[in-house]
């Protein structure tokens, strides 16, 4: 009889431990997923205090099916030699116009961790924080962007704002702002009937 109770307790302890493990596991996973939310809620505070350094941003504008890079790159042996890409990413090679004399892919993209960007310091960077990478050279623009002068903000003037990333307007491989087709001019006064 005693033995049976003991066995029951043992089972329930095991079950509880399993639940705990599951629960904690899920929790940590969830917090990973919620990183963007965190950034957004933090931003609420920045707009008034400017303390934090994180910003609510739109998702980076990847071309369809290009991300995650590891989908293709995991099967490829990395080649660190600077060259013009011909077999793949040739479209980027063709348009590349961003100090192309001195730079190439691996100055911004990480050699090993393909899904990350890489700062000059060697620090890896998520694509959502690409503005930090741009800011390495364009520090003045980054400063203006952070205070909302460079670039566009949408949302609320007295509350939650959303920033566009640098790359939402400037193609990182060819950053000059593209020309636009203007909308129609107003009707001339002499044409009003």
């Amino acid at each position: 009889m005693n033995c049976k109770i003991y066995k029951n307790i043992k089972i329930s302890i095991i079950v509880i431990t399993l639940y705990l493990i599951l629960f904690i596991g899920c929790k940590s996973k969830e917090s990973d997923n919620n990183e963007i939310d965190k950034v957004i809620t933090e931003n609420k505070e920045i707009t008034s205090t400017e303390q934090s350094k994180e910003y609510a941003v739109e998702t980076p504008p990847f071309s369809d099916g290009i991300f995650p890079c590891t989908d293709c790159h995991k099967n490829l042996t990395p080649n660190p030699v600077r060259r013009v890409l011909v077999d793949w990413h040739d479209d980027i090679s063709a348009m590349f116009n961003h100090d192309s004399e001195n730079r190439w892919c691996l100055d911004c993209h990480d050699f090993k961790s393909r899904d990350s960007l890489r700062l000059a310091s060697g620090k890896l960077l998520d694509f959502k924080e690409s503005y930090k990478l741009c800011g390495q050279c364009h520090g003045e623009k980054l400063r203006d962007w952070k205070v909302g002068v460079h670039g566009k903000r949408t949302g609320e003037w007295n509350g939650k704002k959303e920033y566009l990333l640098c790359v939402n307007c400037h193609n990182p491989h060819s950053p000059k702002f593209k020309e636009l087709t203007p909308e129609l001019p107003p009707i001339k006064q002499e044409d009003i009937k």
């Binding site: 400017e50 460079h150 129609l184």
Partner: protein
């Protein structure tokens, strides 16, 4: 014998007759209410609520759409300011049409609150040599820059000063508004405005039904009538709800900035404190809230 048909009795009779004719005719009490409606500034909360309820019903009948008419007053501690980056504007006119759509401006006859002027870089800001009619394939054109003009929401507005019936005034948050029901259409304000920012409804405004914006403010984008003056209100229906004006949100180059001048952490304050800023026609002492600046 005393003359029965004295001048006095004639006037008495004729006014009585007019009044009773008016009362007996098809004129319903609602139209009569509108006719007798006082200046918006003098209305009590109760009167405003009733007027707005009637308006919503009227719009429903006229346009077949559910309108939401707001009369939200200025937010405490706000004084709006606007900044436009001349080094960034490319003259694409997206703002012009976003504004037209948001604010239910008449399409034909055409009313635009924003006019984008193309100016030669060599001349600098020179209205005499500018044009709003540029229409190339692509903008910006080499050798030119673009200056969008709209209501400058002056702190010392000449348009308000000249209104003979006080149908237009400056709100506590700095927006100059028009009570369309009180406006008599004399257009003095248009003559007084040095920026050409006021527009007159020469004909019955014409807005495609499917493009009507039904979120409206009484002093802003509610449907206007023929014979009244209208103007930019910094999208009062949006800005008083905390949102950016629609020209700010549409601008593809992020040249337009909006915020509270009283908030030291706002982007507008940062611009005023750190950038090279100018106002238009400074010599007229209109004290615009609309600043132009050079971001680079």
């Amino acid at each position: 014998m005393k003359n029965k048909n004295s001048r006095r009795s004639f006037i008495k009779n004729i006014s009585l007759a007019t009044f009773s004719a008016l009362a007996l005719s098809g004129c319903n009490s609602e139209a009569f209410d509108v006719f007798l409606q006082q200046n918006f500034k003098t209305l009590s909360k109760k009167e405003k609520d009733r007027i707005i309820k009637n308006l919503e019903i009227k719009y429903k009948e006229k346009y077949g759409k559910e309108f939401h008419v707001s009369d939200r007053p200025a937010l405490e501690g706000t004084s709006f300011g606007y900044a436009l980056d001349l080094s960034r504007c490319v003259g694409c006119r997206r703002c012009v049409y976003a504004c037209v759509k948001e604010n239910n401006q008449s399409r034909d006859p055409q009313i635009h609150y924003i006019e984008v002027l193309q100016m030669e870089k060599e001349r600098g800001i020179d209205f005499a040599h500018s044009t709003a009619q540029y229409n190339p394939e692509k903008v910006p054109e080499k050798g030119y820059f673009y200056v969008p003009i709209q209501c400058q929401q002056c702190k010392n507005p000449p348009c308000v000063k000249v209104c003979p019936v006080r149908a237009t005034w400056q709100e506590p948050d700095g927006i100059t508004v028009v009570d369309y029901n009180w406006c008599i259409g004399c257009r003095y304000c248009m003559a007084a405005c040095p920026y050409g920012a006021r527009h007159f409804n020469w004909g019955e405004p014409n807005v495609p039904n499917e493009e009507l914006n039904t979120e409206v403010h009484y002093l802003g984008n509610r449907p206007r009538m023929k014979g009244v003056v209208e103007k930019c209100t910094f999208c009062i229906q949006r800005s008083r709800e905390g949102k950016y004006p629609s020209c700010v949100e549409i601008c593809p180059v992020g040249a337009r900035k909006f915020g509270n001048l009283l908030d030291p952490d706002s982007e507008i304050r940062y611009i005023l404190e750190n950038k090279r800023v100018l106002i238009l026609k400074q010599e007229l002492n209109t004290q615009p809230r609309f600043y132009y600046f050079f971001g680079i």
